[in-house]
């Protein structure tokens, strides 16, 4: 995009180019455009004045969609005209972030023709983030991206772009097909993704095992974490090899670090009390050749995590301790539908589902969506008394 260039002095930002670590300033300067010049200029000014100069939101978008474009305007457009409009576009990433080099060239070529050329690969939700576009270029970008097989992701009060770890494509610990589940839910809920109808955002993340490589336990309203419900698989010969190798002290590095103390090592045999295993993955990570998740695999569903934007941060808590993750995921979709119906109807504006549950109480929430409480929902006895069992229930028990 050709525009009059004005070289900006950026002494404060220039300091961020020093040192051995990556520098976003250095990367922005490489793009060598008027938009990049003014972007650095307005940021330098923010550093000097210690205030932001962006206005956010408004009416921008593409025809038919309510998500995927985040309006951004400079509040000093006369001084930085190239970034007077600097909208962000979120593009639905491929499941597991697998690209061909041709796909990457296609995206970046489109963005250099119509936008700033600057990208963020990837945003915290997982989308391809295209940074900086004028309003008049939004529809042309959208048209070219969709022609190339891409679509916008979510923004605003909608289901945000689901994301997943690489799952069974590359990882032997994956307890279900994360990429398949992520793709299925993305396709099923296109309306919820593109047409905001919720009190606030709703994120779905799919992790293949409790290592949780997409941080679903911290960053998603509904988290699907792969687990197994049978025993950890033990290769006794490989356990001995670890012991003989001398690099790993099985007692100190594995058993003593088990959060429930469910492992015993007598110098020759590793015994696991699987009933008390909480699937933390520590032992499997420490001895990957000797230990592996069991064969009866599925996922635990957790609910309610969020980053600290409006209120404080929340970690997700267990909602369904184990479910088989098999297409077409009908039980999960039924559960999701009941959650969305309740939250959409009674949630306050900008209230995440985790905050909604805190406000109404987990017991009431469960009753409304028709899910029975289970002991796994309690992190520790008497620590989070969400559930109050009635006397009759206690007597029966």
């Amino acid at each position: 995009m050709s525009e009059e260039r004005k070289k900006r002095e950026t002494p404060l930002l220039d300091e961020l180019e020093s040192g051995p670590w990556p520098s976003f300033v250095k990367e922005i300067k490489k793009s060598d455009t008027a938009m990049a010049d003014d972007l650095l200029g307005v940021l330098e000014r923010s550093y000097e004045e210690k205030i932001g100069h962006w206005k956010h939101g408004g009416l921008v978008g593409v025809m038919g969609y309510g998500g995927g474009v985040i309006g951004r305007y400079s509040d000093v457009p006369q001084e930085f005209p190239a970034v007077a409009e600097f909208h962000t576009m979120r593009i639905n990433q491929p499941a597991g972030w697998f690209y061909t080099s041709k796909a990457l060239r296609t995206i970046t070529d489109i963005w250099e023709r119509h936008g700033s050329g600057l990208t963020n690969m990837h945003g915290s939700t997982g989308d391809i983030v295209l940074l900086g576009c004028k309003t008049q270029e939004l529809e042309p970008v959208f048209a070219e991206l969709t022609a190339a097989g891409f679509d916008l992701g979510g923004s605003g009060s909608d289901m945000r772009t689901p994301s997943c770890c690489v799952g069974q494509a590359r990882c032997e610990w994956a307890c279900y097909d994360t990429m398949g589940a992520c793709y299925d839910f993305t396709q099923t809920y296109q309306d919820e993704l593109h047409r905001p109808a919720f009190p606030y955002k709703y994120k779905l993340k799919f992790s293949g095992c409790p290592n949780d490589c997409v941080a679903s336990v911290a960053r998603s309203d509904m988290s699907f974490i792969g687990v197994w419900r049978d025993d950890i698989k033990v290769d006794a010969e490989q356990v001995k090899a670890y012991a003989a190798g001398g690099k790993l002290d099985i007692q100190k590095d594995v058993c003593d670090r088990c959060p429930t103390g469910c492992m015993r090592w007598d110098g020759a045999t590793l015994a696991i009390d699987n009933a008390n295993c909480v699937k933390c993955m520590h032992c499997i990570n420490a001895m990957p050749k000797a230990l592996a998740p069991g064969d009866d695999r599925g996922a635990a569903i957790l609910i309610g995590a969020k980053a600290p934007i409006v209120g404080g941060a929340l970690l997700a808590s267990v909602f369904v301790p184990f479910i088989k993750m098999e297409p077409p995921y009908e039980d999960i979709k039924e559960l999701l539908s009941r959650i969305w119906d309740l939250w959409a109807e009674h949630g306050k504006n900008r209230e995440r589902v985790g905050e909604f549950i805190q406000r109404v109480g987990l017991g009431n929430f469960l009753e409304q969506i028709g899910l029975d409480p289970v002991p796994e929902m309690i992190t520790a006895p008497r620590a989070n008394p969400y559930i109050f069992y009635q006397d009759t229930v206690e007597e029966e028990a």
Partner: protein, 78 residues
């Protein structure tokens, strides 16, 4: 249901027009209003979802983001 998507879309559009500049409406606000207007037996959330999609795809309404996603009139029609 005897109420059509077109009828619900039209009623939603009228509501958005009447409240424009006075009250911001979310999709759920419109849905609740339509269920109240036509009755739960004649109008449900799914029908309202289709009506909102029709309003968006036709360009009669657009989404705005002002601390939440709202349904409003396009700037040139307001």
């Amino acid at each position: 249901m005897s109420v059509s998507v077109d009828q619900v879309a039209e009623a939603m559009f009228q509501l958005v027009t009447e409240t424009h500049g006075k009250k911001s409406l979310k999709a759920m606000d419109l849905t609740k209003a339509m269920i109240e207007k036509f009755g739960a037996a004649e109008c449900d959330k799914e029908l309202c979802k289709h009506a909102i999609r029709q309003l968006m795809d036709s360009g009669r309404c657009i989404y705005s983001y002002l601390g939440g996603s709202y349904i409003t009139l396009p700037p040139d029609k307001a």
